[in-house]
């Protein structure tokens, strides 16, 4: 295919847009490891800003990690079963429930935070703990886990699989844990990456819900941009980037749950062979 | 109808290798007469669609290949400059336009003045009998209707060459037969050189002035439908078109001796040979007076005729058809008389 002039114009334009997005990131990384931003590279490279960030803000990093992990656990425990139910009972009610659970995405974080403060701000212990922030994060990230798993469940022919398993004697829980969950693997993975990434970066909700003792990484960032020198803010941003880039890369690789056709076939094979040899070691429903 | 008004198309040494290394087409040279309807026939992957796309201008032939429309070199012209009309397997009707706008699109692109455009579009809609559908959206049309819109759109621009890529494949059997008749009538009425691609031999036989049978990127035979049917050039063509029976035997002194009987042999020579013949060249006779004797393994009542599988003669059961009304039983002894001169011997 011959390259036309239009191609090169579009190419140049796209490069410009990339530059717009990436150059400031690079600048900020550089600033974080330069002795003096105003003098630039000439003043030498150093890690002292990074160490300073660690001194000042290490608890924020730990807290963000903690909240992300707990948030992930919550969304899995709450969201995966919910997605299953919604996929099974497809109908108006199911769609309304999905709407309802997705509402927090349609409302600005600020509003949700305000609502939480007004309603639960009075419970001192709760208000002061990181659980308060956790609640906001779960509300905000659950729809992503839900949608991700729901997408996978809707496309795979899991109903036929379930019927196959049922015909071989598996009860509801055996089917749920033995057939449905393994089949959602890619959806759960994609959802998990999304949840953790979003939780790490959440600010709108968290800023309103935080206290001086429960600061997360983004909250710390805002702090440092406002009150610290540029180099510290940059170094802090650098730390954030280091944490978030692996997540983003993982998202790109695993973020789009593929139709688990191969997994479906695998499972069916397993069931059929297990059933045939009577090797289903799971507890059976009474009186078979 | 072959008419001097159509644009002749010439392919010279056109081969195609795809970037991933697949060799889709071996060097092919072909002359298509102006106004002729030529059908490229073969199984999937034989190169027929690749050839069509090279003629269309959607693919370029490998270096050295040339495409000419009426002595004009079009090899380097992209499709939008070649003035062809193309009907795709999925019809590719534009969903954001209604029927009328679809048919008019090519004329709009050519900046045809609106009066002329309207009259030409009206003409096309009448010709394809879809005038009552002109304001419909594409998703409201049935398969057969879409096909007609696709044809109308392709012909509206008065293309030099009309290209059809398996246009009937997406339709069910009954519709396909009906539309085949319509397309046949349409193509005979037009003077446009037509290239038609299909894997259905019945379509090829009924629509083509000439058929190009292809396999694995190569041409195996070019001929009229009759030539292809009665004189297949090799085993592949013989098996692909219609049904063929095979019997092994030894020729000596004007007789072909098989394990199931003797058949008079016209033509000289001697030695081991495998012959082929079509079901319609064999008729059922009394086992004592027949050339070959066998046993019926299965019979299929098809309504207008009965198909019998006869074993004991060839390595694979022979397929014989008869319109006799009686029932044939499994295991029944049966005799076959082979029409003189209908036995074929072929290279692979």
């Amino acid at each position: 295919m011959k390259r036309t002039r239009v191609f090169y114009w579009q190419f140049a334009f796209t490069l410009l847009v990339c530059a717009f997005l990436i150059v400031p990131v690079i600048m900020s990384i550089m600033a974080g490891v330069t002795v003096n931003f105003f003098q630039g590279i000439k003043s030498g490279m150093t890690l002292r800003w990074v160490f300073e960030v660690w001194d000042l803000y290490s608890e924020t990093i730990y807290l963000s990690l903690l909240i992300s992990v707990v948030c992930l656990a919550c969304t899995i425990v709450l969201g995966v079963p919910a997605a299953y139910v919604l996929a099974k009972k497809q109908g108006r009610v199911a769609r309304m429930v999905e709407e309802f659970l997705t509402l927090p995405l349609a409302i600005p974080g600020l509003a949700i935070a305000l609502a939480l403060l007004i309603t639960y701000g009075g419970f001192r212990d709760f208000r002061m703990s990181w659980a308060f922030i956790l609640v906001g994060h779960v509300l905000y990230t659950l729809p992503f886990m839900l949608r991700s798993v729901l997408a996978v469940l809707s496309s795979a022919d899991f109903r036929t699989l379930e019927e196959g398993a049922a015909s071989l004697g598996a009860n509801f829980w055996q089917r749920f844990f033995g057939i449905v969950i393994p089949n959602c693997r890619s959806g759960i993975l994609a959802g998990s990456l999304m949840v953790v990434t979003l939780s790490m970066g959440e600010f709108n909700l968290t800023w309103m819900l935080h206290t001086p003792l429960t600061k997360t990484l983004p909250v710390g960032l805002a702090d440092s941009y406002a009150s610290m020198r540029l180099e510290v803010g940059s170094a802090y941003t650098l730390v954030f980037l280091i944490m978030i880039i692996p997540l983003l890369m993982a998202l790109q690789l695993y973020g789009r749950p593929a139709k688990p056709r191969a997994v479906v076939e695998e499972e069916v094979e397993e069931i059929l062979s297990a059933g045939a040899s009577g090797a289903l070691a799971l507890p059976r429903e009474g009186g078979r | 109808m072959i008419n001097a008004n159509g644009t002749p198309v010439r392919l010279i040494d056109c081969a195609k290798t795809f970037p991933d290394g697949t060799r889709a087409l071996e060097p092919l040279s072909l002359e298509i007469k102006g106004g002729e309807t030529i059908v490229f026939l073969g199984p999937s992957g034989c190169g027929k669609t690749t050839t069509l796309r090279i003629i269309a201008g959607l693919e370029s032939p490998d270096r050295g290949g040339r495409v000419l429309f009426d002595d004009e070199e079009v090899t380097d012209q992209p499709i939008e400059k070649r003035n062809v009309g193309m009907v795709f397997q999925s019809y590719a009707l534009f969903p954001n336009m209604n029927v009328q706008q679809n048919v008019a699109y090519g004329l709009k692109v050519r900046k045809t003045p609106s009066k002329e455009l309207a009259s030409r579009v009206g003409e096309m809609l009448e010709m394809m009998d879809i005038h009552n559908l002109k304001d419909r959206k594409i998703d409201q049309l049935s398969g057969g209707q879409r096909q007609r819109v696709a044809l109308a759109r392709a012909i509206a621009v008065q293309p030099r060459v009309l290209l059809l890529d398996e246009p009937l494949t997406a339709l069910d059997a009954l519709l396909r037969e009906r539309l085949r008749v319509d397309i046949d009538a349409l193509l005979r009425g037009l003077d446009i050189t037509t290239v038609y691609v299909t894997h259905d031999q019945a379509e090829a036989m009924s629509l083509g002035d000439r058929i190009v049978v292809m396999s694995h990127g190569r041409v195996t035979q070019i001929g009229t439908p009759r030539e292809i049917y009665y004189s297949p050039a090799n085993r592949f063509v013989a098996d692909f078109i219609g049904t063929m029976n095979r019997v092994k035997g030894t020729v000596q002194n004007g007789v072909l001796a098989t394990s199931a009987g003797k058949i008079p042999w016209e033509g000289g020579g001697s030695g081991e040979v495998e012959v082929l013949f079509r079901p319609e060249n064999a008729s059922i006779a009394n086992p004592d007076q027949a050339h070959l004797r066998g046993r019926i393994s299965t019979s299929f009542f098809l309504g207008d005729r009965t198909r019998l599988l006869v074993e004991g003669i060839g390595q694979v059961p022979l397929i014989i058809e008869t319109s006799e009304r009686r029932e044939y039983r499994q295991g029944e002894e049966i005799g076959l008389v082979i029409e003189p001169g209908s036995l074929l011997t072929l290279r692979d």
Binding site: T4, L21, I107, P108, N204, P218, Y225 | G85, A92
Partner: protein, 273 residues
């Protein structure tokens, strides 16, 4: 099998419903109620239209969000189509670079804006070099605009690329077979084909811009967008009722925008809202 499963299904879905009711439904209900407890009572909702400060804030936010949406759609359409339809060495890297800022919180984007357009920003240096005058606009609406476009591009471009991938190539070939040039193919076939995706991601872009807080917070000195107004009402002026009313209205606007997106585009909306 259906009926007997109901109790199990209920058990599975109950936890999430309880959590959501307690921590979302209830608080939102209280928010609506609280909005009406201020000095103006329920009239607080009307105040957004009658009070100049709030009204200007609302209009500014809407205008800004609209401009951001249009700019982002244009940029993403051009680059997204370009990247989806061409294959060349380094394409993957460009795609990664463009989608990389997807997870940046608003604050970080604000910082990026400062890097580009702040007092020591790159753009300032470039303009100083070219014209002698340093252009600094990070702390104004222009800076906010740039910030919003910055975080909107990755999302919209992903949607555009996904939608472009799904376009039927036969449609393009058919248009070309009828003589359409590249430009006509884009205008008559591709853009109409992308319309649902563009509308959907445009609406999401609009809603996100309306509700964005972090970026404005980082750049704030005198930027008056609605989320900032809500924030100052709550924290600096302790006007809880007003803040609640304004949030409800903001929430309604974003909710309407997102619903419009969904009904216009069905399931082409990208999960990364």
């Amino acid at each position: 099998m259906e009926r007997r499963e109901y109790p199990f299904l209920a058990v599975l879905v109950l936890p999430v419903l309880v959590v959501f009711s307690a921590f979302f439904l209830l608080p939102m209900g209280r928010l609506v109620a609280v909005a009406g407890t201020g000095p103006e009572g329920v009239g607080a909702y009307i105040a957004i239209l009658t009070t100049p400060r709030y009204f200007e804030s609302l209009v500014a936010t809407i205008v800004l969000s609209t401009l951001v949406t249009l700019a982002t759609l244009a940029i993403s359409a051009i680059s997204g189509l370009f990247l989806e339809r061409n294959r060349f060495a380094g394409r993957g890297i460009l795609v990664s670079m463009l989608t990389f800022p997807l997870a940046f919180p608003g604050v970080v984007v604000g910082f990026m804006v400062i890097m580009l357009a702040g007092r020591q920003g790159l753009i300032g240096d470039i303009t100083k070099f070219l014209t002698g005058d340093k252009l600094v606009f990070a702390y104004s609406m222009a800076g906010l605009f740039m910030g919003y476009v910055y975080f909107s591009i990755p999302r919209v471009i992903l949607t555009v690329m996904a939608a472009a991938e799904k376009l039927d190539p036969a449609l393009e070939e058919a248009a070309r077979s009828l003589g359409a040039s590249q430009w006509l193919v884009v205008r008559d076939i591709i853009l109409p084909g992308l319309k649902p995706a563009l509308i959907a991601s445009g609406a999401i872009c609009f809603a996100t811009a309306m509700g964005a807080f972090g970026t404005a917070f980082t750049l704030a000195t005198n930027i008056d967008v609605l989320p900032m107004t809500i924030y100052t009402e709550f924290t600096l002026r302790a006007n809880i009722a007003m803040a609640a009313a304004l949030s409800i209205i903001l929430g309604l606007i974003t909710w309407v925008a997102l619903n419009a997106a969904r009904s216009l585009a069905g399931s082409t909306v990208a999960a990364a809202a």
